[in-house]
């Protein structure tokens, strides 16, 4: 019965509109019991990474068909949602967690070694061998162990099936991954590829590896940097063989290339980037359905066809991107002022309980929007025009499912908040208006940008201010007052991007410090007001604008 229901839910997810072929299956309901294993703070290669790699690979195998294992990452983990989600799963899904000791691989193997057919041994002298071992783990159902852990694996009946010790000594990464490609890529998932980057060198935070192993993905940390032509060539070959509009999980390597370079390349192939490298427990959460009594409902303040009239004043709208999960959601002040939050839309299938947690936890002042640029993290200028519609169809369907009416766009393929440009040419703006006919409007940028338009009552606005995490309150207030000076017409529409870990409390203090009275409104109201009084000039990226490829 359970498998029938699981199939039903997988089918239901497919009809949500996921462009790729096999979304993760869901169980009919959350399990009554699951195992919780706390992980230590140490993510050094010579420290606790070996035991964490063992546990994460075991999690991926044990959770392959049903959710059994949830890893409790440390309080300092970038995804601070890990801890609130435990309480939510207990309260709303009635899961009882059996807690093991911290990093207790012996106890974990006692329970879950039966899901493995043996072990793959990585070479502690070659960091990249661990990334290859993740690929092998998923394909061959093997737990990832280091040499020191062989006796422990043996104790639980896990014998080495693949031994990478000494295999890659002295080899560059492109050669190591070429070997892995030749050996394993044909059998790997075409729906998921994992770029196991992020922290580099002496540290590794492979939080996404459980899901990659569960899905039998190919892992690498190949570089998108032209300075590494052999790695780039292999990476292009891999991306080119993945299914259309499939998912690239993880994050670029901090030691090899840049976010701009990697995300641009992923976009060139019409694929979906979904970060980060340390996103945890997806093999568990992706299988947990929404509770039957829940439906995604946003705090709408205006009807789609409603018209508002702007007054002669300054309107401010604050938008937090990336802040649900790694930012300010759980920090002081939320609910104090109208605030807009960008939803990680793919979490509807990757992490349904977390999205349910956010939607149920919202205050009347919290308003949700979709992003970034489509279904995942992508740069529209980098996406070939013929690949754009398929991706955006998925984006539309995710927005409908999540009750979202505004799309946030970001493009760092030709610049960033320091140099180059973050604007869109008219033809890309045209594509968005064509693909999203039902939205209230669009917002653009991450840093500031200057792409503005208004068509059929739907504004296309860019950020006029970026609130840096470290910007002092008094300087930020002076920044806003300067913008108000620089834009003397009223109404003036000041769209403000709040970097994720700034708290609502800080933003509220900044706005309280302004000498000119402003009205803070949620984004749907802001866009309706902006539609009524076009004090902003239509502007698109110009051929003469500076370009910086994020080297």
């Amino acid at each position: 019965m359970k498998s029938v229901l699981a199939g039903f839910f997988a089918l239901a997810l497919t009809t949500v509109g996921l462009a790729f072929q096999s979304p993760p299956r869901q169980v009919a309901h959350a399990p009554e019991r699951a195992t919780l294993i706390p992980l230590s703070e140490n993510w050094r290669m010579e420290g606790d990474v070996p035991v964490h790699a063992l546990l994460i690979s075991l999690q991926g195998l044990a959770n392959r068909t049903e959710p059994h294992v949830y890893l409790e990452y440390p309080k300092s983990w970038q995804w601070e949602i890990v801890h609130p989600l435990i309480g939510f799963l207990e309260k709303r899904h009635h899961i009882t967690f059996d807690r093991l000791g911290m990093d207790d691989a012996d106890a974990a193997l006692t329970r879950f070694a039966k899901y493995a057919k043996g072990c793959v041994v990585w070479d502690k002298a070659v960091r990249s061998s661990l990334i290859v071992a993740f690929t092998v783990s998923g394909l061959e159902d093997l737990v990832v162990v280091s040499e020191d852990q062989l006796p422990l694996a043996e104790k639980h009946g896990l014998k080495p099936q693949v031994d990478l010790r000494g295999k890659f000594t002295g080899q560059p990464d492109h050669a190591i991954y070429q070997w892995a490609y030749d050996q394993y890529f044909d059998r790997c998932s075409r729906d998921y590829y994992v770029v196991m980057g992020g922290h580099a060198g002496a540290e590794m935070q492979p939080g996404i590896a459980d899901f990659g192993i569960q899905q039998r993905a190919f892992f690498s940390d190949l570089s998108a940097n032209p300075k590494h032509p052999e790695e780039l060539a292999l990476l292009k070959k891999i991306l080119g063989r993945q299914n259309q509009a499939s998912v690239v999980l993880g994050w670029h390597s901090y030691g090899k290339d840049t976010e701009g370079q990697h995300t641009t390349l992923v976009g060139n192939f019409g694929l979906i980037m979904e970060g980060l490298h340390n996103l945890p427990n997806v093999s568990f959460t992706s299988q947990i359905p929404l509770t039957p009594d829940f439906k995604f409902t946003n705090n709408h303040h205006v009807q789609r066809a409603e018209k508002l009239t702007a007054g002669k004043k300054v309107y401010v709208c604050t938008v937090a991107t990336d802040a649900m999960g790694i930012g300010a959601w759980t920090k002081p002040g939320r609910g104090k002022i109208p605030y807009t939050w960008q939803v990680l839309m793919n979490w509807v299938w990757m992490n349904p309980p977390a999205l349910q947690y956010f939607y149920e936890d919202k205050s009347p002042n919290d308003y949700f929007i979709g992003g970034l640029s489509g279904p995942g993290y992508m740069y529209p200028k980098a996406i070939p025009a013929d690949k754009f519609p398929a991706l955006m169809k998925t984006g539309r369907e995710l927005m409908a499912k999540l009750d979202l009416r505004v799309l946030e766009i970001m493009d760092y393929s030709e610049g960033n908040r320091h140099v180059g440009n973050t604007d869109l040419p008219k033809e890309v703006v045209d594509r968005y208006y064509e693909q999203y006919p039902d939205v209230l409007g669009f917002i653009n940028g991450y840093g500031t940008a200057r792409t503005f338009d208004l068509r059929d009552g739907k504004p296309f606005l860019s950020y006029d201010y970026y609130l840096d995490v470290n910007r002092p309150v008094d300087e930020a207030a002076a920044d806003l007052e300067e913008l108000i000076q620089l834009n003397p017409q009223r109404p003036y529409f000041l769209l403000m991007h709040v970097r994720e870990s700034n708290t609502v409390e800080k933003v509220s203090a900044i706005l309280d410090g302004l000498t000119e009275k402003v009205e803070v409104v949620p984004l749907d109201v802001f866009l309706k007001l902006a539609a009524s009084a076009k004090t902003y000039r239509t502007h698109f990226q110009q051929p003469t604008d500076a370009v910086d490829r994020n080297p």
Binding site: T258, N416, R417, H418, V419, G447, T448, A449, R450, F452, S462, Y463, D464, Y465, Y466, L467, D468, N470, R471, P472, D474, E475, A478, D479, E481, E482, L483, Q485, L486, N487, P488, Q489, Y492, F493, T515, T535, Y536, R537, H539, A546, D548, P551
Partner: protein
């Protein structure tokens, strides 16, 4: 332990002021590195290096703003006392977190003057910034002042559109010996 200066050290101390003076005798000459802890928040940048060279009738200022791999470098030469110098500029890097961009002319009009016996360089800069609502004339008054001992440089900027002054403190970077 003797407290009497050694001959070589005494000679060095005697000629040091001449070593850091420019051709026109200004103590501004040299390389300066920002002291972030004592300065107005520099966001979005994290580094600011300033090189100033002087001649009898001109001053050249080279600034490098940086944030990791990202950097912006510009150089301008002005003539103190002259009516105006027009300096081409590719972008307005002073505060990239504001939606304000260099105007279509991509130029700054700079009037420079020496004050207090070449201890202070004052620049009055006029430029046009473009915002979502159009063009806006902006004036920036910049004072470059060197401390009495020549070790610190204070750059104070008053922007006509901003209520708060911006104050950057720099430390002198000693020339490296070959």
């Amino acid at each position: 332990m003797s407290h009497r200066p050694r001959p070589f050290l005494a000679l060095l101390l005697a000629i040091l002021p001449q070593l850091v003076l420019g051709a026109d005798g200004s103590t501004l000459t040299g390389t300066w590195h920002i002291d972030l802890a004592r300065s107005t928040d520099l966001s979005p940048w994290k580094g600011y290096d300033l090189e100033i060279s002087t001649s009898a009738d001109s001053v050249t200022l080279r600034r490098k703003l940086s944030w990791g791999r990202r950097e912006f470098i510009d150089t301008m030469t002005v003539e103190p006392g002259a009516a105006e110098t027009i300096v081409p500029v590719e972008m307005w890097p002073d505060n990239r977190h504001l939606g304000a961009y260099i105007g279509a002319a991509k130029a700054r009009h700079v009037h420079a003057q020496w004050l207090d016996g070449h201890r202070i360089l004052r620049l009055s800069t006029d430029l046009v910034l473009e915002t979502q609502q159009g063009s806006r004339d902006v004036n920036i008054l910049s004072d470059y002042k060197v401390s009495a001992n020549g070790a610190q440089l204070t750059l104070t900027e008053l922007r006509s559109t901003r209520s708060r002054p911006i104050v950057y403190q720099f430390s002198h970077v000693a020339p490296t010996t070959p």
